[in-house]
Amino acid sequence: MKKLGFVAIILSLLVTFAYAGGTDDSHTDSYTIATVVKIDGIAWFDRMRVGVEEYGEENGYDTFLLGPSQADAAEQVRIIEDLIAEGVDAICVVPFSVEAVEPVLARAREEGIVVVSHEASTQENADAIIEAFDNAAYGEFLMENLAQRMGGTGTYATFVGSLQSKSHNEWVDAAVAYQEANYPDMELVQNKIEEFDDFQIAYEKTLELLTAYPELDGIQGSAMTTAPGAGLAVEERGLQDKVSVVGTSLVSVSEQYLESGATDMIAFWDPAMAGRAMNEIAVRILNGESIDNGANLGVTGYKSIIQDAAKPNLYYGSAWVGVTKDNMNQYNF
């Protein structure tokens, strides 16, 4: 029995060497890259795992994804500590709390591990930070879609989760500015209605909005709950064909309203692509390559990334995905 175990170890070592050798033609090393996410087991990060694992298989790296089983900042820090002890080549992280992981990421970098973070534009201790998109560009994307569905004319209203939400306000501000510059025939009747990330409030506020402005043609949502909440109100009032609803959401949340036509388009970013982009950046840094403004990561949505002018290690993709009734079946999260 003991002998058998020994043989197995030798064999597995041989396989490992052969495997590492086999990829030598394009890379000097087979890197081990860990991606640490906020919480393991939810649809969003399951989707990211698909991207991370496929990237590894396609390029011959050992890539894997892990995260705490509960949303817990301390647990995430412990996982990163374990990875440092294991001696991985790079750590990609989607921090639960940007501040909480700063010390452990600093230590990882001291040990020579490359650190790439995501959804963390204020991260200090990272070799590179990659964001799915620039907030202003995303707001303009939403408005362009709303304007096209409204035929560039008519009245519309915007929602935010809360007036304190930085990203929501940036999306809406950019969207309204874009409308004023490009679609002068459209009119904003109520700006930044708060719905507190609450489906019920989004629904009630939309009903009120439809009463106050019976001629309303469009609604732009920011929080995950606006597109379905407004969709339900539009559906109940029988206005599927008249009022266009666009906003940030997920297929799993808005499916039934996309189907009924009450919600016209939802947008989000695909975590699988974000996972690929993080790993690609890690590999490039490990290879000693520099990443410049306009670099092509070879990942959908990250084919011409923008380098932040003030913070050179911060990059933006343009990785939003617009989903309608026609292509919603491609996304299972």
């Binding site: 700006n191 009903l207 909005l209 009032r237 949340v253």
Partner: protein
Amino acid sequence: MRKLLKTHESYIAVILIVFSLIVGIINPKFFSIGNLFGLLKSTVVTGIFALGVLLVLISGEIDISFPAIGVVSMYITGTVFEAIDFSGPTILAFLFSGGIGVLLGLINAAVISTFRLPTLIVSLGTLSAYSGFVLTFIDTRIINRLSEPVVVYSKLAFFRRTMESGQIAELHFSFFVYLALAALTALILRYTIIGRGVYALGGDRQATKRAGFSIKKIEYFIYCYVGLLAGLAGIIHSAHVRNANPFDLVGGELNVIAATVLGGAIIGGGRGTVHGTLLGVMLITVINNSLILMGIPSYWQRFTTGFVLLIAVAIPQIGSVKSIRTPRRVRS
């Protein structure tokens, strides 16, 4: 007649009418049938919760665990009925959710009654325990495909008509469920021994005991009934929003308690009526859902809500300061 005008409830009714008239003058669309139907539907979930809160307040306690009971009942119902692909009568979903509510209310009652602890403290604990239980042991996923009977219920509406603007207006069936539960609660409070016991308990605990009431029985009744109402409110909410979200409802408890107090229930206990609660809930709903109609910019809406609420709470007090200062009596 003079006595009627002096009650807290009549003040709230007057404020509700005056406020509605102001909104209606600023924007006559307030009185459109679609808006009124929408407002009535919006009162349902808050209102059913508030009926439970009313009982607890009358008994002289404060319970904040009811949204957790609502979410647990609704989410377990959603999960189970999704798993068995339920296709029976809708009433079963209501009974199931209400039943879980009663069970959780029973736990509250057992702890409160056995250890003679203040309800506020106990419910503070059970609030996080119940909602934590769901997230840990059941699931954290939002169920977007409810079972067929619940979906049918979610579209069950009456008086469907097309308004001038081409929009459809309809009154949801839930409003009648709400009215029936309100009538039931009023009957219990007014005409049953246990209902009178709830008032007595809030008036004076010792005197209630000496009068021959079983305090234990009254407390078990209150918290099981609150559980039942919360379970029903949960499943109705779930049907209204057409999903079952384990992160829902919790956080809305203060709004419900505010509506009940606005309706004349006194936090010290012994006073409060069902019709007052209905008015309080209606007033809060109208205030929360008229600011866009009045054309108030988003940045001003929070301020306006708070300001109008303050006025609504203050005005009845001016008229009834005297009656509050007199020794508390058992009233209905």
